[in-house]
């Protein structure tokens, strides 16, 4: 008697997603995980260069108040032979601004299938799973999967020291002018 078919994985909840392209490859990302969509130029206009050993996908960072965002090349992350992206997704609750080549459309997915267990390398960190849309299979990316904790630590180590802002400088000068008690 044949073995029973494996359990059909996935669940049936509607989720709004953004379909985007890196080169010719289509990916999906939950729209709730995107905080901002910016032109890559407008974001990188205020960006500074960074070089961390072994992390070629990150070449720039942006300081926003106390936070630092790293511009991650989607092509570099996935190993795709494509130039830098022209759009940047600032991903919510992460320190990643993902560079992509374009938004295809927004749509709704109703089933997310776990990545088959045959896939057993970095892709398990990259993807939440796969979804079938219009007879096409699209990987659904994991927003936290673009920079690992180790990569973030390496990038933090490679950051130049913060330049004090005007307000900080004034406060420091005032503190120096104050008489010190001996």
């Amino acid at each position: 008697m044949p073995s029973p078919a494996p359990e059909k994985p996935g669940t049936l909840h509607a989720e709004q997603i953004i379909l985007f392209r890196i080169g010719q490859q289509l990916f999906a990302l939950s729209s709730s995980s995107v905080q901002e969509v910016r032109g890559a130029d407008s974001l990188s206009g205020g960006a500074s260069e960074i070089t961390a050993p072994g992390i070629n996908k990150v070449r720039q960072f942006v300081r926003r108040g106390p936070n630092t965002l790293f511009l991650v090349s989607g092509a570099g992350h996935f190993g795709l032979p494509t130039p830098q992206g022209i759009l940047a997704f600032v991903l919510r609750n992460t320190r990643t601004a993902l560079l992509v080549d374009g938004i295809e459309r927004m749509t709704t997915m109703t089933r997310l299938q776990a990545l088959p267990l045959s896939f057993c390398h970095e892709e398990r960190q990259w993807y939440r799973g796969l979804t079938a849309l219009d007879q096409t299979v699209v990987p659904v990316v994991r927003p936290e999967g673009f920079l690992s904790d180790e990569e973030l630590m390496a990038l933090d180590r490679a950051l130049p020291p913060r330049e004090p802002s005007c307000e900080e400088t004034e406060e420091e000068l005032e503190a120096e002018d104050r008489p010190t008690r001996t």
């Binding site: 045959s118 398990r124 939440r128 299979v137 999967g145």
Partner: protein, 178 residues
Amino acid sequence: MEPKRQAKRMTASTELELKSFVLLRLGERRFAVAADHTAELVSPSRVFSFPHRTPGIEGVILRRGRIVPVCDVAEKLIGTRLTTRRFYLIALRRYGRRTEWVAIPVTGECELINAELTEASASDEPHVAAWLSHGGDVIEVLNLDALTPGLENLTVGYVAPSQPGSQTDCGHGAEARP
């Protein structure tokens, strides 16, 4: 021992050794997979590929609403990748206590046979589950668990357990959360 009881015992023994297998063809060679580990034979359909780092997986196909990985085992078994394929044999692959479908590209018709098994020896390759004899050929019975990649082959410490869906039971953990 009574002759009747002895005959009954011999019949039971013979039945235990005869099992059903699906013979598949890769190039000029034939291999066998236990019939109860196969689901169906399907015509080649569109393979969807996306970036990944697992060797031996071409992509995935859509079959009956499921997303099934395509594992080309020809390179491991006959030393070359398949340039043409006639069917995908959809087989069951175990991952610990879970099973999932995998699609194995084959180059010819598959055949269902009954044959006697010879146990694999310690010197056989891990992908050889057993041997059988059919039509004058000695044929390897494949152990797909050893032949195709899987989560149990992960580098230790690679998957951070704190991340949702990264556990081995991620089939249940992957949910579309609105």
